[in-house]
Subunit: 355 residues, 2 copies
């Protein structure tokens, strides 16, 4: 493997000194880029794009050709695991992901097969290998998975939801059945992430998109506990380096201390959180990633710079911060505004890293 | 006016000793009740139900006939103000509220008329008078309004939203234009609430349903500041009693200290919050209202009791707690489960109020 030229992102995740605050964007390979839309048209559908390693590699690299990002993230979907388990993932315009065979009965959960990553998700691993080779050490590659709770939400609801009625009904009526599902998913997620690490990803992020819809006691029992289980089963060293793990529970700002106790390397936080207060709370236990409101990218240049400056100032001096949006970049954003943000992070963060 | 027989709710909001923890439910007059569905069918539409004082009175009282609730809440919609300002509120099945004339330009905002409550929203005031008379002092009546920020969200988006792109674009591009709108709305909201108080409501709640979608700095500037402005203009005494004000920013659990500094009497909190920690944070500045996950009402009796017990234990001994759900009761809930919850609150809270 080529030597890593820019390890700023990996160093920041471990709290090691860095010359500037590294930055990447959730969903940085996405619809806001015209070249992405063109690749997607050639692929036929979003799912074809995910399942064709050459195209997944192509779109992963697109934002890096435009912007001086400090990390690449594997282009894929968070629902590849349920799809591999036979639920039949598909997408409807404007409504997001759906499953042909959502989980409906306890028997469906009991009968769920074990994930065979190398067989069922080889297209992801192949994409990882292609991307690592194409990156040639430019920046590290991030792998990812949905959290067990978040996967279970989609698998039981059959798609997105506003009230999470099905999964919450199961949770409050038959918690042990839900735990059985979450346990199976924590095994699948750790196998999946370990296979991504073996194939070459250099850090991983667990997306707990729906952790924030839970009451605080249920968050700990049904989301955090199973992310903890995943963490315990991960191979966190590879190629002679640590493979840092980032936990991101959207809407989890009240629970950062408990999350930091899992032994993850960093917490992703959304824009409701004050980074300086979060930093105090976690008291050096791990790094922080975030947390600009993606809607700031609809603003003019001076506002974007000022908001970047605010986020950097809230975190304060020293390493342990990876700049990101608090959620994925939106499809309506002008790519030049994203560039403005990234350049501002690099420029304005330098004073925070001088001795 | 008839003497108030049960003032437990009003006393708890002021931290005065109470025999049990009072309880009411957001959206307690609603679709989960068959008698409500029947009134709505007779009314023709949801909006007709809101605009016909006799029917609004009828459905307000329905949950009180079934359950030993400690407060009634005026049956109305949070979007009566924008409707009165000419935006043309209507409802579509499954998609929630919409406006025929959403605000689209700066001129639309500048041209927004002043609210004439007695003329434009007399149907609400008439409903308040009818309900007060029908209640005959049984329990206090709560009035309410949407917060300026939440009203502005609907008025600019034209309905519900997932990304709040229009209002956030305005907020980051032309903050002073948005502030002008919020300022107008804070005048309208305070007039509306003062008129409700004059007509007989004995407490008011400001619903800031969408405060939680803001970054923490923007929450303070664009939501909290204007609720503060409303508070400053309210007539908080009537009929020789204090009229307590409850602020409820859904998803605002990280900002309770700032909210408590507005001088409100209570904060509504959702189920992501640990009531004991919240109580410590606000340090006696105001009361707390909440915060059971509404989905708990899909569970069996023992789970409902256990969850009620947990919420009561988290708050701990002493007054200053009004039990509620963390959001509106959902339409799929069996009314008997709501009764179970209410009875459990009364029974299990008594030990917390003994000297």
């Amino acid at each position: 493997m080529a030597e890593l030229k820019n390890d700023c992102f990996l160093r920041a995740l471990q709290g090691l000194p860095v010359p500037w605050t590294p930055v990447w964007m959730m969903r940085q390979a996405g619809r806001y880029l015209p070249e992405y839309r063109s690749s997607r048209t050639r692929a036929g559908s979003f799912l074809d794009l995910c399942k064709t390693p050459e195209l997944a590699c192509e779109v992963t690299l697109q934002p890096l050709e435009r912007f001086p990002l400090d990390a690449a993230i594997l282009f894929s979907d968070i629902l590849t695991i349920p799809d591999a388990l036979g639920l039949g993932l598909y997408f409807t315009e404007g409504e997001g992901p759906r499953f042909q065979q959502p989980l409906e009965t306890e028997k469906d959960i009991l009968d769920l097969p074990e994930l065979q990553v190398e067989r069922d998700l080889n297209y992801v691993l192949e994409a990882v290998r292609l991307i690592r080779s194409a990156l040639a050490g430019k920046v590290p590659l991030i792998g990812f998975s949905g959290s067990p709770w978040t996967l279970a939400c989609y698998m039981l609801q059959g798609g997105s939801s506003r009230d999470f009625r099905k999964i919450k009904t199961l949770m409050y009526q038959q918690p042990e059945v839900l735990e059985l599902l979450l346990d199976k998913l924590s095994v699948a997620v750790s196998r999946y992430l370990n296979a991504q690490i073996a194939a070459g990803v250099q850090a991983v992020q667990i997306f707990d998109t729906w952790g924030g819809v839970l009451a605080h006691t249920e968050y700990q029992r049904f989301s955090l506990a199973f992310m903890h289980k995943v963490l315990a089963q991960l191979d966190r060293h590879h190629e002679g380096r640590k493979v840092p793990v980032i936990l991101f529970s959207k809407g989890g700002g009240l629970w950062l201390e408990q999350m930091a106790m899992t032994g993850c390397d960093a917490l992703g936080v959304d824009w409701t959180v004050h980074l300086g207060q979060a930093r105090k709370q976690i008291a050096g236990r791990c790094a922080l990633q975030g947390n600009l409101d993606p809607a700031v990218l609809y603003a003019e240049a001076p506002v974007i710079r000022q908001q970047v400056a605010r986020v950097l100032a809230e975190y304060g001096a020293g390493s342990g911060h990876v700049f990101n949006l608090g959620h994925g970049i939106e499809q309506w954003v002008d790519p030049d505004r994203a560039k403005l943000m990234i350049d501002a992070v690099h420029e304005l963060s330098i004073p925070y890293h001088q001795e």
